[in-house]
Structure formats: C-alpha cells, structure tokens
Amino acid sequence: MSSLPDIAICSESAVAVTYGDRIDPEIHQKVLAFNDRLLNDPFPGLQAVVPAYASVTVFFDPVVVKENWPRETSSAHVVRALLEDRLIQSPIRNPQSAIPNPQSPIIEIPMQYDGPDLAGVAGKLQLSENEVVRLHSGTVYTVFMIGFLPGFPYLGPLPEALRLPRRDTPRLRVPAGSVAIAGDQTGIYPQASPGGWHLIGHTDSRLFDPKERPPARLQPGMRVRFVEI
C-alpha cells in the first residue's frame, strides 16, 4: 500500500500533507522523511516545514512563489502541485531508511522527580511514586513534534501504566523546566506557561535558546531518556 497522503490547502500561505490520524511510529517516519526531503531540496518561497505526529505542514511566501511562477494565478495551487510531484516521483516505500536512525544516540535529560502532581498521579494510577519514576525514566521516548511553546517537545509513547487524562483544571502557571505527562505523552515546559498536564518533576536542562541554531535543543525524530538525579 503506498497510496498518496492527503494534501490540503490550509491558507494562502500553508499546505498540509497528512499521512494518517493516529500516533504511529511508522507514520511518523514517513512524516520525518518527507520533512527532510523538503528541507534538503527547498522550492523558492518555502519558509518553514513543520512536522507533527502524522502531518507535514509547508509554509511559504505567496509573493515569492508568484514571482517564480508568474503565469500561475494561484500560489497555493503551485505549492500543492510541487508537493504532489515530490510525493509521486519517489513515494517513501521504505520508512526504515528515514531518520531517525534507531541507532541514533539517546539524549539524556537529567531531572528530579519532585513535581507537585507526582503523589496524585501515583494514587490515581494505583502505583507507588517509585514505580512511576521507574516507568517514566525507564523508557526511551521519541520526539514526535515541537509545538505549544518555543522548544516544547512532545515525547512518546508513554508506558501504558502511566496514562491519565489531562488535569480537570489547567494551571495558570506551570514553572519553566517542569516535566509533565498527559495521555500517552510526556513533555517539558521550556518556559513558564499555563498548562493542563500533570507535573511529575523538573529539569534544569535548557531546551530553548534563541542564540542557538536550531533554537530548540530537541528536534523531531530524536530519542530521549530522563535520568533521575
């Protein structure tokens, strides 16, 4: 099965390529492969490519696209056709060849399991706090996407035994560095922000620095493990 993914025009300056509607490592590999291919061979006017769990959204400057394809009336249709061409010419049949390499190094994030929700989470899951720590730190996570806040990594999948719905009432202020879980995901708040996830600990690791390139330390496809200190 190598049917083409769905391509949808989102706005005058964005087109989304969607491979599915669930969190699935195989779908995510296709997302990363297409993301990489676009970044390695950008078209004139391309501004950003944003990979998510199952989609790649392509942002472009309609003015630059228009300058390069002056006879076409619709910049968005030009971009849609460009993306279709790339998908047809070499459909990604072998997601294993795409990044991340399963052998890619595991980035270790030192953290302390001292979050205000740790006890409550353990209670709801009918686990001891130590078991929560052991499960959370004993898993290697994949960075599925960066979003919500500058540098915020959506990591997963979380072990089944740790899955909980979000908090009923979001906090107005989650401190920067908080490590949190919700559903089948875990994440790290690089900045203070409102948030609805359960806070199980914190890290002093810097995840976002506007002076670095790229500014987000974790990038989609990387592998991460939390190390208790």
Binding site: C10, Y53, L149
Partner: protein
Amino acid sequence: MKIRIITPGLLATVQDLGRPQWRSDGVPLGGAADAVSHRIANFLVGNKAGAATLEIAGGRFTAQVEQPGWLAVAGADGQFLTDEKEVGFGRLVFAPNGASLDIRPGSGCNYAYLAVSGGWDVPEVLNSKSTCLAAGFGGWEGRVLRKGDVLSAADAPPESEMQGGLQHESVRSSNWFAGNPFFRKMMTPGSRTIVIRVLAGPEIHWWSETQQEQFFKTPFTVSARRDRMGVRLDAEDAVFGKTEIMLSTAVCPGAIQVPPDGHPFVLLADAQTTGGYPRIAQVIAVDIPRLVQIPPGQGVCFQKVTLEEAERLFFEQENMLQKIQLALRWRALK
C-alpha cells in the same frame, strides 16, 4: 530620534513582520498584529516594510522626545497628539526635543503603530526584531514596554535624508496624510455585523452541511478575551462545539478553531504553532488585520470565499501597499 516612555498603555511591544522561518522550533510567527497598519506607518517615514515599529495595543501611550526626529502613527482609528495638539494618524511628523507624544487608539483597544525614520533600534533575534512574549526574547529585552524605557531609532535609511535634512524648532506635520484604505469598507451601511471572509477550514467536514450553513449565518460577538495570541468569538448558542480531539498538527494565524465550549477562537500572530482543536474555517489573509482591529462587543459573521478570490484580494492588497510605499517615498514635508 529618542523617546522616553511615560505611560505604555496596556501592551506596547516592538514588532516587525515576524519570524516565519522558526515555526518548526515552536516559535510563534509574531510580528505586528495588524501588519498593514505597521507597513503604512513605516512607509510614511521612508522605511522598508520590515523595519521595527512600536505596537500600541489598548490604552493611552505617552512619551517624551529626548532627541528630535521624524515619526508617524498608523492604525485603524484613533488620536495622535503632539504637545497636546491633534496631529492625527497617517501623517509624517517632525517632533523636536522635549515634545510630548500622546497616542490613543480608538475605542475598544485597537492597535496603533508608531514608526520612526530608520526603525526602532533593537537587536535582531532569530532573524526578527519582534517581541516573542512566550519565550521572552526579541523586541525590547523580550518584554512589554514599561514606564521609563528609552528607545532610539536606528540610522535612518538614505531615502529619508530629505526629512533628516530639515530640522525644526516646533512640531511640524505634513498637510497630506495616508489613510488606511483597507478599513474603509469594513462596515456595510445599515448593518450591525462586520463581514469577515474565510476559506473552508481543514476540518470543516467534522460539521454536517446543515451545521456549516448555520455557522456561516450565525452572528458572533467579538469577546473581551483577546490578545496577540487570538480572539474568542461568543456565540449565543454554543452549538458548534466538538468533543472529539484531533491529532495535534501545525496551525497558522487566521485559523478558526472550535474548542468543546463551542465558542470559535481565531488564532493571531502570537498563537502557538501547533493545535488540536478542529478548524472550521480560515480567515483570509487580507481580513486578519481588519479582524484584529474590531473592538469587543462588535458583531461579526463569516462569509466563505474561494481560495482564488482570497489570493486575488491578497495580491491586490500587496499592489496597493506597493503603490502607497512609492507614493510616500519622496513626499517631503510641505
């Protein structure tokens, strides 16, 4: 040009056209909420479109001039006084040492832009001078402007030498002005609602055809819950809410998300880069600057247009802005 802020108003920030290239790192687009008024303010003083302006969002902004220079204010509506005399939006103004500046965006906290010849001098961070409030970088020390902050203009571009060559002892302003042609047609006479044009959203099929029809007939009210990240629209009946959550994906300014509470939320310049609420529609590019200038309490309704129409309007607006820029480049103060 140098000014000292006396009262910053509710939310004054340094902005430009944003940083579109760092979305994949979770960095919001940022930049002026009303990028059209921002550009007109820049063109008035001979700057390029992307020079940094000061965005004044709501409340009254006052400042004192500590070094003379050329400036202009643009926005949808409001008052601009220098030394207590009305100068008005859209004029090229010379402000001498000690002059007072007093900017009052129109009722309902609209956005106004204060441009100076050469642009405001702040460092570029991630390719932009706009303020990223979420992560506290860019603009003026990564934050909202406060009383006592002193901002200077960068060196004026050569195009504006004819302005810099003229020094005056008192406030002088041009007898011509550049209005913002894009807000004129906002209100249809006799109508209580402003029409905002939209494209179908990527998840429009989550709603039945009857619901979609109803959505485009329903008048919404611009709520007071709005900021640079987005604006909430109140519906009388919260019938459009969906309890299903979609898989998070990249989102862009102008997207109309419908959270479970049924009140549509339109994403704006500082919106987060990913989202998980279904998007019923997408405000067309030329109507985003109009939408952000609508005061709370005002009724709006959404009208679906084709992509081709949205693109035609976009390029028409780009051409118009280019003409405004050309027309203003060599206008001396007369």
